[in-house]
Symmetry: C2
Subunit: 146 residues, 2 copies
């Protein structure tokens, strides 16, 4: 907990959004900086494109939904955010880019984080020839009792 807070502080303060974007290989446009300011504060969050546009709007800014989608794809492709693997009808993104896992409440669709070290993935199968393991995602589906 202490370390997490420390990390968030450092992450938040040491680099400007402009620097974070450049480091990720993205041209720091006005729109990307607005989004980076919202998303890249070191706090773990799940969100959809629509959620994000709402946040952009409540921050006093605005931008085309096409730009929101463009940015999310760019941010995801260069690893600034992650897309969660679920069969929900809307894409869900995650600001936590470290390997971790989720509970999925099957009734509500809610996703709850599980830290990587809470799951013991001892034996994994042999990775197919010519490929490498680019991340493991565990989903534990939850149903209400009774």
């Amino acid at each position: 907990m202490f370390i997490e807070n420390y990390y968030q502080l450092v992450y938040k303060d040491i680099m400007t959004s402009k620097e974070k974007l450049r480091k990720a290989g993205l041209r720091p446009t006005k729109q990307r900086m607005i989004i980076a300011n919202i998303l890249l504060d070191g706090i773990n969050r799940h969100f959809t494109a629509e959620n994000l546009q709402d946040e952009i709007n409540s921050s006093g800014n605005s931008m085309s939904i096409a730009t929101v989608y463009n940015c999310l794809k760019k941010f995801r492709n260069c690893g600034l955010i992650k897309q969660i693997e679920t069969s929900k009808d809307t894409a869900v993104f995650d600001t936590n880019t470290h390997q971790h896992h989720h509970f999925l409440n099957e009734e509500t669709g809610e996703l709850i984080d599980i830290e990587d070290d809470e799951i013991n993935l001892k034996s994994l199968p042999k990775i197919p020839q010519g490929y490498f393991n680019n991340g493991v995602e565990v989903l534990i589906k939850l149903k209400k009792q009774d």
Copy 2:
């Protein structure tokens, strides 16, 4: 392998599609029997709604795409098939209803089965109060080397 074949044989032959549907609590309509004949042969398969409609057509039958979707939802809800948790733009279903896992080829979108016993899920986190574990799905994302 021997056991699997034996199982498939039994599963295929012991119950008619009509009986399987009834056992699952579904009224055995003409359309559901056509689909059950295609899907419930004990062979593990991944497919989309469109894939299935193609198979229906090549079997000499035909049905509305709305019916295909209706049936898939019913079959899934009563456990005759499973929907795979991935963020692909099209829903992917699986005739293997036992707990198992997948490799996801991130370049092609291809899904490859992993048997449950190939992954050692020793420690799982505490399930939230009032819920129970309704299935664990592990996804190993693959990328091409180099």
